[in-house]
């Protein structure tokens, strides 16, 4: 019995010390829920975009969120935070979405998941509406802020006025908004590449068991056949 107690103590001591001194655990901030964001990220205007969500571990999982902090007037930053299972699950569909925003004028804060860049759309300090031939009013950033469309992964997308109106409604109702046609989020046509290209994503094994075993009896195939001189030599 004493030996078992001692062994258990040893295991707990090892796990405790490893956890306390683990560089990953030390460096990575823990985010319990979206209520933590205002205290964690300072400055305005500020937009927090969820770039990736992934898990690590086989039996005991650790949940991570990769966030992009887009500041108004300085370079964006990337940060990886640890989180709990419920917050991870709640945000699984929100990759590419803005999870937190702080407005510059009145320091208003919002934690409703909205398309990235929602903070700036409609703000005349950052851009303006232009009529297009289709009759729609579309948002254009001012020249100095034109990099925002790249920072927010918009590509060729240009929000129209209806998009802006919807943002305001969803923000007021505190309900997530994924774009007029669901362009944003993990499954959104504009931002789904973020999830698909994630370096942390564990790819599902599509090959069969026998195909996998073939690896052990296959010979390495060279794409560049040796030159004639090399063969002769």
């Amino acid at each position: 019995m004493n030996k078992i107690s001692l062994y258990t103590l040893l295991v707990l001591l090892f796990l405790g010390l490893s956890k306390s001194f683990s560089p990953t655990a030390q460096k990575t901030t823990f985010v319990q829920n979206e209520q933590v964001f205002p205290g964690l990220f300072t400055g305005a205007p500020l937009s927090l975009v969820l770039v990736d969500a992934f898990t690590a571990g086989f039996l005991i999982k650790t949940y991570y969120l990769k966030l992009k902090i887009v500041h108004g007037f300085k370079q964006p930053e990337f940060i990886i935070v640890r989180t709990n299972k419920s917050f991870y699950k709640a945000n699984q569909a929100n990759i590419g979405m803005s999870l937190f925003r702080r407005y510059e004028r009145n320091n208003q804060e919002s934690t409703t998941p909205l398309p990235p860049g929602s903070l700036y759309v409609g703000d005349p300090a950052f851009g303006g509406w232009k009529y297009h031939n289709s009759g729609q009013r579309k948002w254009h950033f001012h020249r100095v802020y034109r990099h925002f469309s790249r920072q927010f992964f918009w590509g060729d997308y240009q929000p129209n006025y209806e998009f802006y109106e919807k943002i305001k409604i969803h923000m007021k109702n505190e309900t997530p908004f994924y774009g007029l046609n669901g362009e944003f989020g993990t499954e959104g046509s504009i931002t789904k590449s973020l999830y698909e290209k994630s370096p942390y994503r564990v790819k599902k094994n599509t090959e069969g068991f026998l195909d996998h075993l073939k690896m052990y009896i296959s010979l390495p195939v060279s794409n560049n056949p040796p030159k004639k001189e090399e063969v002769k030599g």
Binding site: Y7, L10, L13, F14, L17, S18, T24, F58, I80, V202
Partner: protein
């Protein structure tokens, strides 16, 4: 051709230096054990006292092991390379001698070299001396390669390793059922073989734990301690596993009854081999587990 000649000279310098070290060891040997009749000018007859030969040549092999991972840095020229080598090698030699002296002071504090080796020709004592030389030199080899050129780091690592060795040697009564002092007085080879497996096993574990790249002393110490703790968790699994899988039967009590003995002071060599081999095998398998295992990018670090 020039560089080949340079390398040949360096190798010859290395060989001469090791010979010089061996000579230095002979002098130091007489200094450490002044009661020993042999002196620097006397001839040594190995066949007359096998225990003394074993003890002495173990020390020499130890010196070889300490120097087995030396490197010459020729970036700043040939002379600097020789000078750097000389400084590091002398430091290594001194550290080796002081380590042996310290370990033997901890383990063999009840015994005197002259009594055990010269007078009683105790092979058990010689075997223990042999394993101390081998184990300490394995650990020092790792320390010297980790410390690089810094003598301060070498000093820190050496003291750190000595503490670990000291703690490790004190666990022998926990790991073995043989009474160290009583059996060594009786020149029991069973004890010597058991201790041989025990000490060399621990040396492998400590050497493996110390074999971590040193960037910051604090993090290095934490990593080493964690590796030792991990080894302490894994080691009992292998000891129990070996005993279960191969149905190894700890028959010490039966042996004592069969031979009608009151205590466990006169033990068959086989029991010592069983204990030593089990512990050493378990230690060796442990360092396979605690060593660097590549988990690919399954556990990301940032």
């Amino acid at each position: 051709m020039n560089e080949l000649f340079d390398k040949l000279i360096l190798r010859v310098v290395f060989a001469l230096f090791i010979c010089l070290t061996l000579l230095a060891y002979r002098m130091v040997h007489n200094l450490i054990y002044p009661s020993n009749r042999t002196n620097l000018l006397q001839k040594f007859y190995p066949s007359k006292n096998s225990a003394e030969s074993l003890h002495f040549f173990a020390r020499l092999v130890g010196i070889g092991i300490v120097f087995s991972e030396f490197s010459f840095n020729l970036d700043q020229g040939f002379l600097y390379a020789v000078m750097d080598f000389f400084i590091r090698a002398v430091a290594g030699f001194i550290v080796y001698l002081v380590s042996l002296y310290t370990v033997e002071s901890i383990v063999l504090y009840n015994f005197d070299y002259h009594d055990e080796i010269v007078k009683r020709k105790s092979t058990a004592f010689a075997l223990i001396g042999l394993v101390h030389a081998l184990g300490v030199s394995f650990i020092l080899k790792i320390i010297l390669s980790t410390a690089g050129t810094s003598l301060i780091v070498l000093l820190f690592l050496w003291l750190f390793a000595l503490v670990l060795i000291g703690f490790a040697t004190k666990t022998f009564p926990l790991m073995s059922r043989l009474s160290f002092n009583r059996l060594l007085i009786q020149r029991s080879n069973a004890l010597a073989v058991s201790y041989f497996g025990f000490f060399i096993g621990w040396s492998f574990i400590i050497a493996s734990a110390l074999n971590v790249p040193l960037t910051q002393i604090k993090w290095y110490a934490i990593q080493v301690v964690l590796k030792i703790l991990l080894s302490l968790i894994i080691l009992p699994i292998f000891i129990k596993g070996l005993k279960l899988i191969f149905a190894l039967n700890d028959d010490l009590n039966n042996l004592v009854k069969e031979e009608d003995q009151q205590d466990t002071t006169n033990i068959e060599l086989g029991y010592g081999v069983y204990e030593g081999a089990t512990f050493f095998t378990a230690c060796f398998l442990t360092i396979v587990i605690t060593g660097k295992i590549n988990f690919s990018n399954f556990y990301p670090s940032f």
